[in-house]
């Protein structure tokens, strides 16, 4: 008599953070149920109960126990299903520290700068913000060259922690390019990172998990229209 593992993921289709555990679960060939939350309507009882502190997605429920925060979930998946699929975090402690450092940079410095630039009404602040985002991408390009040492992904020939962390934002970047003509993934400035981005998005697992660029672009356009009409009324 086997114990059936119950794995459930609460997320929203447009969130880069929700993409991360999806990739990790598929890398480890773990079957899971996906529940689409409605964050604009009302959050489900399950979400509120599982993440009472922050009430945010994604949430992974493994045999009813909740794990929250996307990179935390990815590490949990890596440790729990450690004999299945590739290692997501490198095994060497120093390489792990580097992966954690850069993923913290992406989440705590780089993406907040992009989000602030996207929201601000001040042209000046927007320009400054985009400059910071571009500067961050330059640093990430350098880091990629140093860490990957010629391989396709940050830590090897297979997708790993850093790839999942930064890669989860790629569709958003491409959607912004479509919507606003803003070319952040510029091959002339960050050639290695752009090549990595193409590799990442054409990976078999990633392809089936990320939302379509057009759909995200349309969604961003709708959000912007709502924000603008709210500020006028």
């Amino acid at each position: 008599m086997g114990d059936k593992e119950e794995v459930k993921l609460l997320g929203v289709w447009y969130s880069p953070y929700a993409i991360r555990p999806k990739i990790a679960l598929r890398l480890k060939s773990v079957d899971y149920d996906y529940v689409e939350e409605d964050l604009f309507g009302s959050k489900s009882e399950l979400l509120l109960k599982s993440n009472p502190v922050h009430k945010k997605v994604p949430v992974l429920l493994h045999n009813v126990k909740p794990i929250i925060e996307s990179l935390n979930i990815v590490e949990y998946i890596d440790e729990t299903w450690n004999s299945s699929g590739p290692s997501i975090l490198p095994s060497d402690p120093h390489d792990r520290a580097i992966a954690r450092f850069w993923s913290a940079f992406v989440d705590n410095k780089w993406f907040p700068a992009l989000r602030a630039a996207a929201i601000t009404k001040s042209e000046d602040a927007k320009a400054k913000g985009i400059e910071e985002v571009e500067g961050g991408l330059l640093r990430l390009d350098e880091a990629f060259v140093a860490i990957s040492k010629g391989r396709s992904f940050f830590c090897g020939d297979v997708i790993g922690f850093m790839d999942i962390c930064l890669g989860s934002f790629l569709v958003l970047l491409k959607a912004r390019e479509k919507l606003k003509g803003e070319k952040l993934l510029d091959e002339s400035k960050i050639p290695s990172l752009c090549k990595w981005a193409d590799e990442f998005l054409s990976d078999d697992i990633v392809k089936n998990v990320v939302p379509e660029i057009d759909r995200v672009a349309k969604f961003l356009g709708e959000l912007e229209a709502i924000a603008q009409s709210a500020s006028r009324s």
Partner: protein
Amino acid sequence: MGVMNGSNNDEYVKLLGAWPSPFVLRTRIALNLKHVAYEYLEEEDNLNSESVLNYNPVHKQIPILIHGNKPIRESLNIVMYVDETWLSGPPILPSDPFDRAVARFWDVYIDEHCFTSINGVAISKDEEERKAAMAKLEQCMALLEETFQECSKGRGFFGGDNIGFIDIGFGSLLGPLKVLEKFTRVKFIHPDTTPGLFHWADRFYAHEAVKPVMPDIEKLVQFAKLKFDTSIFK
């Protein structure tokens, strides 16, 4: 100050730090728990020193651990690195993946909410800002009291019988909290409202890995007066 090691890793260990920093304190506690001999370099007066800029060009911040010739940055990262590299001491993170995820979650919460509200009180420009930051801080304490009860399960620390990841993350903020308590005359950790945390704090301070490196409160008070030119410290 430099003592070459007798730990299970042959390479030289150096820590760039600043004595008032709770983040540096975390790394020193972790190194002490694992009995790692290291050279400590005080950078408090010179945060733009060549060493700091060399090893941490992205953030220009301490602590920076240098193991052999490899730099490791960011306090929680360093604590995890120490835990994963020196295996002979007690484990800092639990072994169960779910418990590890819980520990990581709470340390992020401590940095993003507790530390931010402590800072918020310190830099508040008026009564309204101060009250809001203090209310947030009290909320954090209440949540951490619940967490302590759940994680400790009747034992002495968040980590159980010994100091663990959450103890280090939160314990390093006890100094700044005591400084705030002195100036605001409010007890954020109190035997009535947070009995678990109250007694835990004494145990934490007395721990052999913590006692030798915990900064003196009076020195921290003087430091705060100089650093924060806001009304609360006058």
